[in-house]
């Protein structure tokens, strides 16, 4: 199988770095794309329309220009007309632990998980992947 594509949507470069570091430990070859805000991510999806759709999306909430919630709304619309985006799992990875934010994000059926920055573990990522691909294997 081709490399899995992952996109990280976060305006904080250091937080993207920390997530990439963690992803490396999952021992799977990911193609990692990065976007600094919701708008940049939407541009990415509109341009990218190939056989290797993103498998996982990590989304921050508080970003300039287009924040996480605005992105969810726009992405939801885009997803309904794009077959290739249907399989993407979206994980909220944000500093917010506010109930309203969690409920609002989880009201989208494609939002798979809501994780507070700093508490994401390798196990969380593996678990998400296993849910979607039961026969995936992680090299050791």
């Amino acid at each position: 199988m081709d490399n899995y594509s992952i996109i990280i949507i976060d305006d904080n470069e250091t937080d993207r770095y920390l997530l990439k570091r963690l992803l490396k430990k999952v021992k799977i070859n990911f193609n990692i794309f990065e976007a600094e805000n919701g708008r940049a991510a939407l541009d990415f999806f509109t341009k990218k329309n190939d056989s290797n759709p993103p498998l996982m999306i990590f989304l921050d909430l508080n970003m300039p220009l287009m924040d996480g919630f605005e992105f969810l709304e726009k992405f939801s619309a885009l997803r309904s007309e794009r077959e290739d985006l249907k399989s993407a799992m979206l994980t909220m990875l944000t500093s917010s632990d506010r109930k309203e934010d969690i409920l609002k994000a989880k009201s989208y059926d494609f939002v798979d998980n809501f994780i507070t920055k700093g508490s994401l573990s390798i196990e969380d990522i593996k678990e998400s992947l296993l849910k979607k691909f039961p026969d995936i294997s992680f090299e050791d």
């Binding site: 937080d15 600094e36 508080n62």
Partner: protein, 411 residues
């Protein structure tokens, strides 16, 4: 005909009458019922609540009479308010003072008149409750007592009416304050949520970086360790500036109005010294151009914070594609007011975002070092507290912001 004297306390008396806010208002049942009652008890066809105004007597209630007002100089009530008791004219045709009065010789033929002054709690006779007949007559003791009681009731009605008006006004004020409090509360709750979030986020990042460093010590990846140590430093700097923004904001909110002599050059020098420690590598030139004098009277702390935020935005959001990057501060003394502009040739504020730039926690440039999103919000707070003006002026090269405020000349 004899005209009534003008009472000695006329100015205060008129003021007391006006305070009831009753002149030229619509008919009210609570008064009409009392005049009907007075007419029935006294067995006279006409009864009036007459308020003696500057030039006229105006009827709040007029039972059995079509008129709404008559000239003051003809009014029997003008005489009645000079007394502190019931004023009775049993037959005006035989009375020196009234026999040739047009109200007697013509309609409504005021032949019999009895009026009780309406005395306010402060002791002003603002009008009368009276009964009138077109033929001579008398009142028995019971009727006189009743007329006085009804007059007292008229005054109580007026008092009640007045407190209702005051209450309505207070209610309106209370509602306004309530709305203000609600929006302040909403703002505060938004603020505390975002503040706790923005304080925590960099700490979580620093924690993650520290863990990464610990891991890399194991593998002796010193290059990565050094990069991450640098990231920790930058994140800490960002946190530090966020905390000082919050303190500045508290100052903007709480600062007492204070006016002192300000030398704009001194403020710019101090701002430049503060900022040069932060933006070492931006290579943005700070230029100043003052017209007239550059000293004026205003709040030093506020002006300092406004300029520091505007200038630091100019430096932070500079355009690296431009060879000569600058921030230009100009000032004009317009006599009563001071006009300061801060202009740069940086990235500019996208037009579609300009309406939102003074909002709390708004950030528009994701590719530039993270700001707190509080800078222009702090500026706006100061501007509002100073009753000053701030405008974004169209600029073809970058951003231009203009502020104007009163020059409180203390000399």
């Amino acid at each position: 005909m004899e005209q009534a004297f003008i009472p000695e306390n006329e100015t205060e008396r008129l003021k007391a009458l006006q305070a009831y806010e009753v002149l030229d208002t619509a008919e009210e049942k609570s008064f009409d019922e009392l005049t009907a009652l007075a007419a029935t008890i006294c067995q006279k066809p006409i009864s009036l609540v007459s308020l003696v105004d500057n030039q006229r007597q105006w009827f709040k209630s007029h039972h059995g009479l079509d008129a709404q007002e008559t000239p003051r100089e003809l009014a029997f009530c003008s005489h009645a308010i000079l007394e502190n008791q019931l004023f009775v004219v049993e037959n005006s045709l035989e009375d020196q003072r009234f026999h040739d009065n047009p109200l007697v010789t013509g309609d409504p033929k005021v032949i019999f008149y009895a009026g009780v002054p309406l005395v306010t709690p402060e002791g002003f006779n603002i009008g009368t409750l009276c009964v009138i007949d077109s033929k001579p007559g008398t009142l028995n003791e019971e009727q006189k007592r009743s007329l006085k009681s009804i007059a007292n009731q008229v005054v109580r009605n007026l008092e009640y009416r007045k407190s209702l008006i005051e209450l309505k006004l207070k209610n309106k004020q209370a509602k306004k304050i309530c709305t203000q409090l609600e929006s302040a509360n909403e703002e505060l709750s938004q603020f505390s949520y975002r503040t706790s979030h923005d304080l925590k986020a960099p700490l979580v990042t620093i924690k993650g970086l520290a863990e990464a460093i610990s891991e890399d010590v194991g593998t002796k990846d010193y290059r990565e360790i050094s990069i991450n140590a640098n990231r920790i430093e930058n994140t800490a700097i960002q946190l530090e500036s966020f905390v000082s923004d919050i303190l500045d904001l508290a100052k903007a909110e709480l600062l007492e109005p204070q006016y002192e002599k300000i030398n704009l050059q001194d403020i710019i020098d101090s701002v430049e010294a503060n900022l040069s420690r932060v933006y070492i590598h931006n290579n943005v030139e700070l230029k100043v151009k003052f017209e007239h004098t550059n000293t004026f009277y205003s709040s030093k702390t506020r002006i300092h914070q406004i300029l520091e935020n505007l200038i630091s935005n100019g430096i932070k959001y500079s355009d690296n594609n431009k060879s000569r990057k600058f921030v230009l501060v100009t000032s004009k003394n317009l006599g009563n007011s001071i006009l300061i502009t801060v202009e740069d040739n940086g990235l500019g504020i996208p037009k579609e975002h300009q309406s939102r730039i003074f909002n709390m926690f708004e950030r528009f440039h994701s590719d530039v070092t993270q700001g707190s999103g509080l800078g222009l919000y702090i500026v706006k707070k100061h501007i509002d507290k100073m009753s000053a003006q701030i405008n974004i002026i169209h600029s073809s090269v970058g951003t231009k912001i203009e502020i104007s405020f009163k020059n409180k000349d203390l000399t």
